[in-house]
Amino acid sequence: MIDIRNLSLSIHGTPILRDLSLGFSAGEIFGLVGESGSGKSMTAMALMGLLPRGTRTQGQARLDGTDLLTLTEAQLCALRGNDIAMIFQEPMTALNPVQTIGDQVAETLTIHGRAHRAEALKIARDRLDRVGLSHIALDRYPHELSGGQRQRVCIAAAIALHPRLLIADEPTTALDVTTQAQILDLLKELVAEDGMSLLLITHDLAVVADMADRIAVMKQGEIVESGQTATVLAKQNHPYTRALFAASSHSPDRSETTTPTPLLSLRDVHRYYPGERQGFRRGPPVQAVRGVSFDLFTGESLGLVGESGCGKSTLTRAILGLEPVQEGQIQLIGHPVTPAMPRAERANMQIVFQDPYGSFNPRWRVEHVVAEPFHLLDRRPEGAERRARVAEALTAVRLSPDDMEKYPHEFSGGQRQRIAIARALITRPKLLVLDEAVSALDVSVRASILDLLADLQGELGLSYLFISHDLTVMRAITDRVLVMQAGQIVEEGATEAVFTNPRHPYTRQLLAAAPRLPDTIGTRDDALV
């Protein structure tokens, strides 16, 4: 049905795709896997005819015999939404916030002249029921729905006209694991029942391993390997496939460094937020964290797992002493942690954030960025000493001391994350809080950052508090894990024990929802062959 032959594509002379060929038939799920910059999204855009200006294409991309690359814009408009539909990564921005969800689903039908408004709304109702939103009224607005519900609305709009091909570009990357599992199930079901094809684009091997009939692995604009999912995953003929695999389940070598002295301890911590304003009054306060207690020992890696809205960010800000706790107390090396704590005590704890792009002032050079926490010290290194300390920190994270003259935008995502770690290390802290610090990175980059963190722990005797929704990362790097749900710790224990033998139903639910690479994988001489 889809037949792409020798597709090459360049933008303003820069080659993006090279000699790409792939094909799949109706009712099939095709997985396109690759890291950022591999050209997987551009392949989808070529099928949709949504290429940026200055693009030149060669080769063919046929949908049931029609070459999509030769169509005019008007012909493409008739095709988009009708024969080919697409859903995106970010359900927050893919919907128009000032239109009701009913109108947005119905829009696809009215644009293509398939139905009048009233009739279109009826069909919209039907499609929303189909994606499991029968309890949501048509006149609701996107902000009233959760992330998963919004993604369902996007899917309902995409399937409104029974397209022959649905392209899903990282459809679950922005969602929690349990929601991700539900959305993936829904997509599978729609393909099976409606006989459409699904092109699933993702960086997550575990997601395609579960979903796709066939996959293609992309690297730098080329398909390095493709075939039946099970065969490709089991054989891993191409070294890149193997590297990608090794990276996705990478677990760094760590030495046992935990000592029995508590570094950070929380006792019955509660956090409230003032309620929403209702006219001139405020509603009842919202309880974000309810009675959390735990100890983090010196040299330990502790994981805090939870889905969005569970209160982990609120708790993090209290642990960092940026916001006050309403009840209970937090202590770092025996001193209370509050917004008023002395600066020198703050120097013992630093943070690394998720987004490698938002974590630096774009107008500062790396030297200035990395040296910022010196503000915490009573005696602040200046001039040559400051440069020496910055150079030391950059060397520690395996960057060159010369990098301190550059600006953050000159670095890749992984390098930026190294700079963020260097900034955190500059005051020689004892505790590093890692807030989804590797979640936004490609698997291979993520593996190298995890290695770096493991090495640094051995070298500097650091303790880590990992905050993440990503269970694979947790398993790879933590000694002990806390599972948080609705502001409370519901399960706590050694990482391996919690993962192999979860006791709380919520933990079980999380583990069941997480996509997993089949166990057969990684052994090259496999029975599947």
Binding site: L320, L322, R343, M349, I351, S359, N361, P373, H375, R423
Partner: protein
């Protein structure tokens, strides 16, 4: 940025505005004729080599008047914008740093209060109390620039406060004032520069309007607005007397507005990419 990628609006606007700034600067040292010499014998001359733009009803050289008038306009507008930036930006930054607090409410509602008065009424009020002068015109226009800059600064600062590098600065123990100065302010300068150019052009208009009704710079200091007012009675017999200062105002304001638009395009990376 290469010259080729500079928006054309910016080039044209900058060229127009700099012509007037240049004329104003030259007039400090030299004008074709003195502007305070009244020579009735020379009154209402047409364009000629000695008086390139003619003379007015008191025999003063129009070109010289326009050049010195540019001084007044630019000085009044510049100082008024300066007042707005100097007071408005810190207020806006303070409001953003304490979002939702009583301070934020007080500052922003105070802004609304100033916005609720027409600027001309306040100017009349000030001049009625303290007498008409260029200083009072500056004051009246300046007061109305404060809330404009406070709003722009607050609006620009709020999204920056949610970014991770601000959180990083807070974990580095930096206070709100320090963060506002080191992180927030440098990242909203684009916005402020664009707003300043626009307020500058509005300031020139406001100065002309105040002078026109006699509340701005007082004679014998030349002013574009007053030249317009004085030419009014002779608009049918000597239309050039009104057209020339009018044209000066229009071109200067147009130049500044074009420059503001161009700067916004040039400084906003999102718009730059879209082009």
């Amino acid at each position: 940025m290469t010259l080729r990628s500079v928006p054309p609006a910016l080039l044209i606007g900058a060229a127009l505005s700099s012509v007037f700034v240049l004329l104003a600067l030259i007039s400090f040292a030299w004008t074709p004729h003195p502007v305070d010499g009244v020579t009735i014998a020379n009154r209402l001359q047409p364009f000629s080599p000695t008086h390139p733009l003619g003379t007015d009803q008191l025999g003063r050289d129009i070109l010289s008047m326009l050049m010195v008038g540019a001084q007044t306009s630019i000085a009044v507008a510049l100082i008024a914008v300066g007042i707005g930036v100097a007071l408005g930006v810190p207020l806006g930054l303070a409001a953003a740093a304490n979002r939702g607090s009583l301070l934020d409410e007080v500052i922003m509602r105070g802004n609304d209060l100033i916005f609720a008065f027409p600027s001309l009424v306040i100017a009349i009020l000030i001049t009625a109390r303290y007498g008409p002068s260029a200083t009072n015109a500056i004051l009246a226009i300046g007061i109305f620039n404060i809330p404009v800059f406070a709003r722009v600064a607050r609006g620009g600062a709020l999204p920056i406060w949610t970014l991770d590098y601000i959180l990083a600065a807070r974990t580095a123990g930096k206070g709100k004032i320090r963060i506002s100065a080191e992180h927030i302010f440098p990242n909203i300068t684009n916005l402020l520069i664009v707003q300043a150019t626009i307020q500058f052009s509005l300031g020139i208009l406001a100065e002309a309007a105040l002078s026109y009704v006699g509340l701005g710079a007082q004679p014998p200091i030349p002013s574009w607005g007053r030249m317009l007012a004085e030419a009014q009675t002779m608009i049918y017999t000597h239309p050039m007397l009104a057209v020339l200062p009018g044209l000066a105002i229009v071109l200067m304001v147009l130049g500044l507005n074009l420059m503001g638009d161009g700067l916004r395009d040039a400084l906003d990376p999102r718009l730059r990419r879209a082009r």
